[in-house]
């Protein structure tokens, strides 16, 4: 148990996400604690990724999408009129399901994001620090000018994490970051997440319940509910409680593999 009251970074209030008239995610209320890993789990199509992408306004690129309710970052509504989504994405980085490095050199993959965001410091230093933080430096330090596509899938994904770290976000969103990787690479990503949470708040969407149990401190359980079959969060608590003593019967059925 902690002595200090937990520090919340992201807070959602009655958050609902629509695609046109379709209600994809309804009434999510959750507090993301700083420098912890929060996992979002649930069956396919229940709106996990939609919720995650709402945090850095990636859903804006789906033309018909809109939200009601609020997502607060330190009390400021990310969907407020005076907030620019580019600024949000600068503070809340994202790692995607499939590794998607830029078709550029390893060095440029890291440097590009920093450069467009007006980084004025020593670029070589930043590249090295970011790659070290992503536990990739030793593997790539001799081929920084080589194409990122020459790396393996697991290395590419760590490069994507390094690219995200390079712009010094506060929060890192991970959308099933290991689902396209083999078990060894998955393990390395999970170890990396444990190191990263010293400095960053991490929110991860995963299909893999063992992964959620292994890496996360808090877990949000989502499920399709109601007549409209829209996704909602049915339970949110410390991970060990979700997996050992869930309050909701549906959570228990899901995490014990009885359905889903």
């Amino acid at each position: 148990m902690q002595n200090n009251p937990p520090e919340h970074t992201i807070t959602t209030k009655d958050l609902s996400i629509f695609y046109g008239n379709f209600l994809a995610v309804t009434d999510v209320n959750l507090n993301i604690e700083s420098r912890k890993i929060t996992a979002i789990i649930g069956p396919s199509g229940c709106g996990k990724s939609t919720l995650l992408r709402a945090f850095n306004r990636m859903n804006d690129f789906v033309p018909s999408s809109h939200v009601t309710g609020e997502i607060l970052l330190h009390g400021q509504n990310l969907y407020g009129a005076d907030i620019d989504p580019v600024e949000v994405r600068r503070k809340i980085g994202m790692v995607f399901q499939k590794p998607n490095p830029f078709p550029k050199s390893i060095y440029e993959n890291i440097a590009w994001g920093a450069r467009i965001n007006g980084f004025k410091g020593d670029m070589d230093d930043l590249v090295e620090q970011s790659l070290r933080s992503a536990a990739l430096w030793d593997e790539v330090k001799d081929k920084l000018k080589k194409s990122a596509y020459e790396l393996s899938g697991g290395q590419q994904q760590r490069l994507c994490i390094a690219r995200t770290i390079a712009i010094q976000p506060e929060i890192i969103l991970m959308d099933e970051p290991a689902s396209a990787l083999d078990p060894i690479s998955t393990l390395r990503i999970e170890e990396l997440m444990q190191e990263l949470k010293q400095k960053y708040t991490i929110i991860i969407v995963t299909h893999n319940m063992q992964q959620a149990a292994r890496v996360s401190d808090y877990t949000a359980m989502m499920m399709l509910t109601g007549d409209s079959r829209s996704g909602t969060m049915i339970e949110f608590s410390e991970t060990k409680l979700i997996f050992t003593n869930p309050r909701d019967k549906r959570t228990e059925d899901y995490v014990t593999g009885r359905f889903g």
Binding site: M58, F61, V86, E87, V95, N100, P103, Y149, C160, I167
Partner: protein, 413 residues
């Protein structure tokens, strides 16, 4: 216990019979497709053969004047100085001065002077020409016929496509006419067309793919672009005539820039018309190339805090560029072969001056071919065939450039 559905499938010999029937119909279709391919190849071969048939073959010709009238030296031993003095003493003073003004006689090459000598003084008179096929199959008959009908004529197997043909300007005598003016005109045309159509087309494609919201207006615009790509080229010619030649004449004739004695029928007007013609093709090609850039790349860019323009400029455009260029080159090869809009816009049919700038009068290869094929004399048909070969080679090199570009820059994601 049998599954009742199993009985509904053929078994054993009846299955084999059904299977053989399936193979028979498959091989029938395969034959149909193969013959379609053969017909296509055959048509193409016939086309190429017909062109080559006209461009090479026996020619019977004689000189209107005897070489001994001008010099006692045999023709092939005439030196440059000798040729120069022959020309000077036998041409009228006015004609010599005119030639000297075009290019100083003293600085002309031996080959140049020699062809002037042939053209102006000896005056080649082509009596008859034979096709390549006849020349190969009936060489003996042709020789007999030539000696019988034209006892004074010389008979030679000639390729009408020569380096001299490429480097000579237009002439009223087929033996001395060349396609230099037409090649330069065509290059000016496609140059102006690409300078206009590539930036405009790429810009339009970027806007439509990356910025425009998907609503009824963009759907209408998209449909119209697709339809414009199919509009007959002569319609673009009318458009060019109305807008560039007539309406914008002060600009396209160069009058606004101090060019005097010129009208709107310039290579600039024609190039812009060609640009309009290929614009829809370039937009559609560029849109396809932009669509092929995977969305994951855009997301990666947005994910590190890039604006839409940064995403387009740094990621979408560089990755779509090979496709855009390939499509543009293929569109240009269409412009290179277009004839109808040039006739409407007013290409010159007889011009021996090279285009020297955007406000020049011009001619183009297809115009030249068209013009020569309508002439009565068979030797003009022969040089038309030779220019078709030139045009085809130009087209093939453009297409080859497109393929090389694509292979050179092809990316994997």
């Amino acid at each position: 216990m049998n599954n009742p559905q199993t009985d509904n499938f053929p078994e054993g010999p009846s299955f084999r019979r059904a299977l053989n029937a399936r193979y028979r119909s498959a091989s029938l279709w395969q034959m149909v497709f193969l013959s379609a391919l053969l017909i296509a190849i055959l048509s193409l071969m016939t086309l190429l053969y017909t062109v080559a048939d006209g461009a090479f073959g026996y020619v019977a010709y004689e000189y209107k004047h005897d070489p001994t009238e001008f010099s006692s030296t045999p023709l092939n031993e005439l030196g440059k100085d000798e040729l120069l003095s022959i020309l000077q003493s036998n041409l009228s003073a006015g004609a010599f001065k005119k030639l000297d003004n075009e290019k100083p006689m003293a600085s002309r090459s031996h080959a140049d002077l020699y062809s002037l000598f042939l053209e102006r003084l000896l005056q080649i008179d082509t009596k008859q020409i034979w096709s390549m096929t006849d020349s190969f199959l009936h060489a003996a008959e042709i020789r007999a016929e030539a000696t019988h009908k034209y006892p004074d004529a010389q008979l030679e197997f000639r390729s009408w496509l020569t380096p001299q043909f490429l480097s000579s300007p237009m002439s009223s005598r087929a033996e001395f006419a060349g396609v230099r003016t037409a090649i330069l005109g065509s290059l000016w045309l496609v140059g102006i067309a690409i300078l206009f159509a590539l930036p405009v087309g790429t810009g339009a494609a970027i806007y439509l793919q990356e910025y425009a919201s998907k609503n009824w207006l963009t759907k209408i615009i998209q449909t119209n672009i697709n339809n414009l790509a199919g509009v007959p080229s002569i319609v673009y010619g009318m458009l060019g005539l109305a807008i560039f030649v007539r309406l914008l004449e002060p600009l396209t004739s160069g009058a606004a820039f101090g060019v005097i004695d010129s009208n709107g029928r310039t290579v600039l007007s024609a190039g812009l018309t060609m640009g309009m013609l290929v614009l829809p093709l370039i937009i559609i090609n560029a849109q396809e190339a932009i669509k092929a850039v995977p969305d994951s790349l855009r997301q990666a860019s947005f994910g590190v805090g890039a604006t839409r323009w940064q995403t387009v400029w740094h990621h979408v455009l560089p990755n779509a560029l090979p496709g855009i260029l390939t499509g543009s080159i293929l569109a240009l090869s269409r412009a290179l072969g277009e004839t109808a809009p040039l006739i409407v816009v007013g290409a010159s049919t007889f011009i021996s001056v090279d285009p020297s700038g955007p406000f020049s009068k011009f001619t183009a290869l297809p115009i030249q071919i068209y013009q020569w094929t309508t002439r009565a004399q068979p030797e003009f048909h022969a040089i038309a065939a030779a220019s078709i070969i030139v045009l085809l080679i130009l087209l093939l090199s453009l297409n080859a450039a497109a393929i090389l570009l694509r292979n050179r820059f092809q990316r994997k994601y």
